[in-house]
Symmetry: none
Subunit: 99 residues, 4 copies
């Protein structure tokens, strides 16, 4: 799978910040000029490798395979979960913080 390898490479080379959100499936499809299903297949592959845990209704986030292997459950803290905000590099998540 070309696209899967493409994005996997980006992550492994550090071109995509850990904790950052991937563009939406639709955006990626348009960016790559491929069908949505192809994008989904690629994302799914990466998900299964633990590179980009998808959080339903929120987005798909990049984590570090390395960290994943090391920490296991601690990963939960690295991924922006239901309530917490991770405060990683360039995190567009905590929107509600300002008054």
């Amino acid at each position: 799978m070309v696209v899967a390898n493409h994005i996997a490479g980006q992550i492994e080379r550090g071109e995509r910040a850990v904790g950052s959100r991937l563009p939406s499936e639709l955006d990626l499809s348009n960016m790559w000029g491929v069908a949505r299903m192809t994008t989904r297949r690629a994302i799914r592959e990466l998900s299964e490798r633990g590179l980009v845990p998808a959080v339903h209704g929120k987005g798909t986030f990049v984590t570090q395979p390395d960290a994943w292997a090391r920490a296991g459950s601690r990963l939960a803290g690295a991924i922006p979960e239901c309530h917490s905000g991770i405060g990683g590099p360039g995190t567009p998540l905590s929107v509600a913080e300002d008054a």
Copy 2:
């Protein structure tokens, strides 16, 4: 959904007293770690099955499916409606005990 089945099971197993009020949607959302809309979906499903009639501005109450089948329309009087005074202190509206 899982949460709907979860609470439905609690009711059917009698873990939730008939006539008691469920925690508010917000509380349940926090308890389950899901968005409020997800909670609403679950509650709605149960509402449609007649297990937990929701009363606007008051709360959501558990009734007994058994009693429901037995009593039919008479149940309507057992559910805290506009006219009734169950909003007051300690009125468990036991449906079954009048049979």
Copy 3:
């Protein structure tokens, strides 16, 4: 109503930017230490004066009474986003209306 006057004053003195969103009703209630209903009443009063049109599901925004009186339809442009045709061009913000 003290709170209504308070925020109305803020707007009229320009302390709240035109087009900006007000804090949520809950936040305002906490800020002022009053019940939610009080806040709602205050907001409602301002809404009726055209100071802070509330957009369902989005928030409450401040506009300029002056501009409101002048332009009417141009008000839509004063509210951030107004993406939809809900209040469309030439429609004085009646969100709840539909054919």
Copy 4:
């Protein structure tokens, strides 16, 4: 809701052909200027009344309440289900003409 009644009226007045597919939820959302979830609510309501059975991955189709009442279960075969091939071009599945 208003939109639900709107489209329900269209169907009941015969402005939407029986067997025809409704625009997608996204299209309807854009047409009405509302969020997709609002559209879903409306569609859902109609679905529960049997007016517009939704078929996952295919679309939402209009049937006739009248025919529904007459035909009962036979209607099931008229609605594009898993087995049928109405996904192809031009299969108007006219429910009423077999009566």
